[in-house]
Amino acid sequence: MNKRKAQSLFRRFLPVGVVLIIVLALSHHDPHRGRAVAGAAGGYLVEMMKILPAVVLLMGLIDVWVPKALIQRYLGQEAGWRGVLLALAFGTAPTGPLYIAFPIASGLLQKGARLSNVVIFLGTWAAAKIPQVMVEAKFLGLSFALLRLVLTLGAILAMGYLMEAFGKVKVPTKGVEEE
């Protein structure tokens, strides 16, 4: 392992280390409380590890079968209701945090995709990914997850049209070759 890799690993695990030290110090100071903390943390770790293998494999499968290049190709072309449905459907598929989607969204707009569809795509990517909804249902209940999903989708559709109608949004243009 080279030095830079070690440094980035250290940085990523630093917050965990800090929390661990706090827990250890606490257990030393007050064993009773320390046990309560460790018990609660351990319980949630087990719950998490029970579902994560399936969740990340599902993410991997979606990533492989619905590649981002495919999304980019279709979403740039389709308009009307088909465009809206496609934006919703494609938003539920990708893996990865929202900031990965910003360059994709920018590329879509430059290729002539409708602003509302791109906003809808970003919103669904952020809030309505399938594996995410399943984990939410497990921890917070099916009715919580589904109700939040339905309300969020409604809000995302409204946002798309509001931004298109009132936003006067101009997206920075850049060379297509830059992608």
Binding site: Y44, L52, V64, P97, Y99, A126, M134, T152, A155, L162
Partner: protein, 158 residues
């Protein structure tokens, strides 16, 4: 729910194997990479859940984000979600532990919704790619939506 997730993923994986062995291998590798990428945040959140559950008395939690706090509690939770940068999947156990300690449904819904949709930390990337106006509008409307969603959920789910 766990069984359902495994059935769905298992079914999808076997179908994928049947269709294309190479792609399925790649899916496994992508999954492993996603898992390793999430690991630091998972451990961090698990540690925080432990500290919250083991140390904070339920009265404190319900004082700040409990059912009695109304709009102010929802606003606090929404702001917390907007500035936090952890994968949403990892945030659900934390949210569940807060609910079990007396946080209201509305505040938790507000936290999760802004966590996923509003990004203060990632705003510079968004501005660079999509411009300032776009970023302000999208995040502003998302924040507003989160509050409305939270208030609705607080009324519907008790």
């Amino acid at each position: 729910m766990t069984i359902f997730i495994y059935l769905l993923t298992g079914g999808a994986f076997f179908y994928s194997l049947y269709r294309d062995r190479e792609k399925s291998k790649r899916a496994l590798r992508v999954g492993a990479r996603v898992f390793l990428g999430m690991l630091p945040s998972i451990l961090l959140v698990v540690g925080l859940v432990g500290l919250v559950m083991g140390l904070l008395p339920p009265e404190v939690i319900s004082y700040y984000i409990g059912p009695g706090t109304g709009f102010a509690g929802t606003l606090v939770a929404a702001l917390a979600g907007a500035v936090t940068l952890i994968p949403s999947i990892v945030s659900f156990p934390l949210a569940a532990s807060l609910v079990s300690l007396g946080a209201s449904i509305g505040t938790i819904a507000a936290f999760i919704t802004t966590l996923t949709m509003v990004g203060i930390v990632t705003a510079p990337i968004e501005i660079k790619e999509l411009g300032l106006r776009f970023t302000l509008w999208r995040n502003g409307l998302s924040f507003l939506a989160a509050i409305l969603i939270a208030l609705t959920m607080g009324v519907v789910l008790i």
